[in-house]
Amino acid sequence: MAEVTYLEAIRQALFEEMERDPNVFCMGEDIGAYGGAFKVTEGLQARFGAERVLDTPISETGFVGAAAGAAHMGMRPVCEMQFIDFISCAYSILTNYVATARYRAFLPCPMVVRGPSGGYVRGGPFHSQNPEAAFLHTPGLKIVYPATASDAKGLLKAAIRDDDCVLFFEHKYLYRRIKEELPQGDHVVPIGKARIAREGKDLSIITYAATMWKALEAAEQLEREDGLSVEVLDLRSISPMDDEAIVATVKKTSRVLIVHEDTVTGGIAGEITARINDLAFEWLDAPIKRVAAHDVPLPYAPQLEDFVLPQTGDIVRAGRWVAKY
């Protein structure tokens, strides 16, 4: 079987779910004839028509709200943010209306909001964001952020079939840079389950999305240069978070480094740290440390962006520190 890119895996999931369920339809800006800014939806409108691959006005609140309304009526809409940075335009309706619908009104709201996220692409402050932490604080939303092509396909299929709203973050750096052979058949990855990307016994790196690959590089370097056995846990789902897998890796290595691309303050790493404190404090042999982006808007110039974002060398240095503590 041919290898498939992360982007193509997402497109396959959309195709297969639209074939499988006539209630699934896509909404977004320029997703129809043009196929989307990154061509994720290329070919979808030709196959499924303009009503099921629907070009919207520039109105994130408008079409996210409309997705909720359609979802109440039994549809399963998939909204594309042209860049995930623009999800903040729909923040109010997502957190106030969509996230609360089931709880306050027993209204089903099965919908997906997906879009290209993340940096390392010289996108500047408004085409590089990782806003997942902003939504982790809202009960009622689910959040996934896959690192591999296989997980991208399987998690998107699970997200479309989920009975609640799932925010599906796609890392644009990975779109065409990674490829793999995908499992055959109806490949669905359950939401809320982490994956051990690399086994190890001296140090755990807990991460997700593009930094999962940097963590793997760092793990290899630490093994090569320091003889350290490093475990890498790829969370895949941010909400719900796989506490069992987190606790299991902490108990195995007793040393934890958390790595994410989003800014450090108020980021996911702080939440993971608190959970480890609650669930496995006595197993720790070292302070939990974080490697994340500096607390600045993401700048454009390569020299600036590279400084702000976590790099493989940062993970190596931090991992070495935690391992030696």
Binding site: G69, M73, Y97, L107, D162, D163, A280
Partner: protein
């Protein structure tokens, strides 16, 4: 703001309303007013645990417009649309339980006042407090009708205030472009909380916004229940014929404050009194019924008596309803998982520290 000239409501030109239906309109309007009066009593007895929102003087707006819908059509009410919800099948018992935060209220005590809905049978959707948000939601509800070729229509209310929001604009524009079968009713009642319409919008007629969206617009006297019914019915019929969205401005007047606590100090002297005396929608409609429609005063009194009895029975039943079970607050945030855990200090300490999983000899605790 001046009361409109106190003309009696006119009978619809080619009305399809029977005498029974004309009386039904009166029933819903009177039920709305009487139920709110009962809620005021319960509020003063502190049995309404939150705020109380009135629609005094706006009953014709709510009832006449909702009456233009079929059962399968979906209605999205706002805080002054108790009457619309009653027309759509909400019951006084549900409303009373909801205001009194009872465990068997439609939202099991999760939401306040008339923030509740039913999309299974009666087809109205619970609103949220963020004004304008229901417009995009209803654009999506009606988009689903269009995609499925269902001959159903959606109706969403906004006030003069909500027309200032981005959500209103994005929602109505999307519905317009997609030719969704949606009727947007702008109830212009003169005030958004304390802010007069003149500080909300520089346009003198909110209906003129329709032109900007390329959709049909109409305007009517919202205190004339038959005019309200007629103008909404035309928009609903147009939507059902596949001719797309429209905007209807209903002019009316909010005689009470934003909520019961509001003393309306910002209202010019005499304004409320003028509307009360000259342009009360129930008084106006009663005159039509007893005049040209030949309804007797005794018939109307009989309806009033029936309504009082219904509200009395519902009040007794709601009063006897149990409060919610506190732990129900953890149920149903998601379909899966179906329930969230209580925080550790509510369920006893179950952390690693408490369980002392590591051997005492490791020295990290006192064993």
């Amino acid at each position: 703001m001046a009361a409109s000239s106190a003309t009696a409501p006119s009978r619809a030109d080619s009305t399809d309303l029977t005498r029974d239906q004309l009386l039904e309109l009166y029933y819903w309007m009177r039920l709305t007013r009487s139920l709110e009066e009962r809620l005021v009593n319960l509020y003063r007895q502190t049995k309404v645990v939150g705020g109380l929102f009135r629609s005094l003087g706006q009953e014709a707006c709510a009832v006449g417009s909702a009456y233009a819908l079929r059962r399968e059509d979906v209605l999205s009410p706002l805080i002054r649309n108790l009457g619309s919800m009653l027309v759509k099948g909400a019951t006084p018992l549900e409303v009373l339980r909801q205001y009194m935060a009872k465990g068997d209220s439609p939202t099991r005590g999760r939401e306040l006042n008339i923030h509740f809905g039913d999309v299974e049978e009666r087809n109205f959707i619970g609103q949220i407090s963020h004004l304008g948000d229901m417009v995009p939601v209803m654009a999506g509800v009606t988009l689903s009708f269009k995609l499925r070729r269902e001959p159903r229509v959606g109706l969403v209310y906004v006030g003069d205030g909500a027309t200032s929001t981005g959500a209103f604009h994005e929602g109505i524009n999307l519905a317009a472009v997609q030719r969704c079968p949606l009727v947007v009713i702008v109830e212009n009642n003169g005030y958004a909380y304390s802010t007069p319409t003149s500080l909300q919008c520089a346009a003198s007629r909110l209906v003129d916004k329709a032109a900007g969206y390329g959709i049909a617009g109409a305007r009517a006297d919202g205190n004339d229940v038959l005019a309200t019914y007629r103008v909404t019915r035309e928009a609903v019929d147009r939507a059902r014929r596949g001719e797309g969205a429209s905007l209807v401005e209903l002019t009316t007047y909010r005689r009470k404050g934003h909520a019961e606590h509001d003393n309306q100090s910002y209202v010019p002297a005499g304004e409320i009194e003028r509307w009360t005396a000259e342009d009360d929608p129930l008084d106006r409609y009663a005159k039509v019924l007893t005049g040209q429609e030949g309804v007797t005063a005794a018939e109307l009194e009989a309806l009033d008596t029936r309504i009082t009895g219904e509200i009395d029975r519902a009040t007794d039943e709601a009063d006897a309803s149990p409060p919610p079970e506190p732990r129900d607050c953890l149920v149903g945030i998601y379909a899966d998982p179906p329930e969230a855990p209580a925080l550790w200090y509510r369920d006893g300490i179950r952390t690693a520290v408490d369980r002392h999983e590591r051997p005492a000899g490791w020295g990290t605790h006192d064993g």
